[in-house]
């Protein structure tokens, strides 16, 4: 090789973040460690934030008194009911909006107008409409999950490859067959990612829902802690919600993997 030969300069790579194994857990550990240290050394006043160990203590208290399960099960029940019905209704209405011009023209503006209404603003009315039992709590979560589900479902239906639908029609498939076998699976990725959002919202709304005469529930626990300014319990409750959120997102991830194996 001649001596004015030089390798071609490398200029590719990058722009493709890859999973870096343990960084997530390390970040969490670091944050918690610093926080604990700060609390112990008095840099973080207990009024501002309790130490993680204190929050852990509050959690341990809950476990000991056996109330953890009471709170968690009450919340889970509301969450599951509200979310399932909200999501189901949302999927139905979203499909209607995705498939029929008239339904879309009616549904879309109504959803746009009602979505930004904060559920806590309506609590007094919810009490009158649905009472102070489980209904109003479930309804709060239901309303919160319904609207984003509608939006993501009709977006998903819109995004189904029209070529596949034309293919179905060209083979004389019935309308219902096309919806069931082509539109539904085609919209599934969008529906599932809509579920991710609505599940987060449902968890967020737990606190709002349990404002209404709830004795047990993570939200009620947090509210009580807030009222009593028991910041250790407050943080413990918030951590429970966080863990709940991570769990739900993990479960949905599994479901996604199973249902969308074909991708």
């Amino acid at each position: 090789m001649s001596d004015d030969a030089k390798p071609v300069p490398y200029r590719g790579g990058g722009f493709a973040p890859r999973p870096v194994g343990l960084v997530g857990p390390i970040v969490f550990a670091l944050v918690l460690g610093l926080w604990e240290a700060g609390s112990r050394l008095g840099w973080i006043s207990p009024i501002i934030l309790p130490a993680p160990s204190q929050a852990l203590g509050a959690l341990a208290d809950l476990v000991e008194t056996g109330r953890l399960w009471l709170h968690v099960s009450a919340s889970l029940q509301r969450l599951v009911q509200g979310w399932v019905f909200g999501a189901l209704l949302g999927v139905l209405v979203g499909f209607a909006a995705g498939l029929f011009s008239l339904a879309r023209a009616g549904i879309v503006p109504v959803v746009a107008a009602l979505f930004p209404i904060p559920k806590i603003a309506l609590l007094p009315l919810f009490i009158i409409w649905f009472g102070i039992g489980e209904e109003s709590k479930v309804a709060t979560i239901l309303f919160g999950t319904f609207f984003p589900t509608v939006i993501s479902v009709y977006g998903g239906v819109d995004n189904v490859d029209r070529n596949l639908i034309r293919m179905g029609q060209s083979f004389g498939l019935g309308w219902f067959s096309i919806v069931r076998k082509i539109v539904l699976p085609g919209a599934m990725p969008a529906i599932l990612s809509g579920f991710r959002i609505s599940a987060s919202i449902a968890i967020i709304l737990l606190v709002a829902a349990e404002m209404i005469g709830a004795e047990y529930g993570i939200g009620a626990y947090i509210l009580l802690a807030g009222n009593l300014m028991a910041t250790d319990q407050l943080v413990a409750g918030v951590a429970m919600l966080s863990i709940l959120g991570l769990t739900v997102s993990w479960v949905l991830g599994r479901i996604e993997k199973a249902v969308l194996r074909w991708r």
């Binding site: 070529n163 083979f171 498939l173 067959s177 074909w262």
Partner: protein
């Protein structure tokens, strides 16, 4: 069953796409449609298949489709149009499920068409696991499953690389020799047209009008033995197309 296209014109909004198309597709023959990009070939094919309705003119079928035909006018699409969430076999059974044939009958048909397209080993593969050529063979198998009277093919090979394309064109020829199906075959590729077409219909650029109809009288099975004759036809078609393409390439395609 013959197809007769009479005086079809169409426009989308302000763009006139087709103007006064008259065409007869005789049973057992392959009619190739060629023409520059955007001249309305796909649109015309959609009219023929009943997927869309033209502004004026009509498409009629003359005579009954043969018995046992589940879907007289059957498409094969350029992008295969396979459901990505169904296996090869599932994609084929899809078009049979609505006919109430019973499980065993469906399975039998699926196995038969998979065998005819040499896909038996891939019956449970998902589309993403298949190469382009195999995907299009699944699409062809699916079309055969409904025993069509007429195949409507919209650039069925143009998404494939040239070797695979050649192989698949041979397959299609074999198939025609055995089954003598009717077909309307849209293509950009003049070689394909002169190899598989009984007639080649040349459309002008948009608005598409019939510019010339070239009949190729050499039987399909003998075509490869007459390379010069085919080359002459190809040259002729190429000359027709070249001016159109040159002109079309100079226009802003604002869609």
């Amino acid at each position: 069953m013959d197809l007769h296209i009479s005086d079809i014109s169409h426009s989308y909004g302000a763009t006139e796409v087709l103007r006064g198309i008259d065409l007869h597709i005789t049973a057992g023959q392959i009619v190739c449609l060629i023409g520059p990009s955007g001249c309305g070939k796909s649109t015309l094919l959609r009219f023929v298949g009943g997927l869309e309705r033209p502004r004026s003119g009509r498409v009629v079928q003359i005579g009954e489709p043969p018995a046992g035909c589940l879907n007289p006018l059957t498409y094969i699409f350029q992008d295969f149009a396979l459901l990505p969430w169904r296996t090869a076999a599932g994609n084929i059974s899809l078009v049979l499920e609505d006919h109430g044939l019973g499980r065993a009958a469906v399975r039998e048909i699926v196995d038969d068409v998979l065998a005819r397209t040499k896909l038996t080993d891939f019956r449970d593969a998902l589309p993403r696991q298949l190469s382009g050529g195999m995907k299009q063979r699944v699409a062809i198998a699916r079309a055969l499953a409904v025993r069509p009277a007429c195949l409507l093919m919209d650039e069925p090979l143009s998404a494939l690389d040239s070797q695979t394309r050649d192989l698949l064109l041979d397959d299609l020829l074999d198939l025609w020799l055995r089954e003598r199906f009717t077909a309307c075959y849209v293509t950009h590729n003049l070689e394909e047209a002169v190899r598989i077409g009984h007639r080649v219909v040349v459309l002008s650029r948009r608005p598409g009008q019939i510019r010339e109809v070239v009949d190729l009288d050499i039987p399909l099975e003998d075509r490869l033995d007459h390379p010069e004759a085919l080359e002459t036809r190809r040259r002729h078609l190429w000359e027709l197309m070249r001016e159109e393409a040159l002109a079309a390439d100079k226009e802003l395609a604002d869609v």
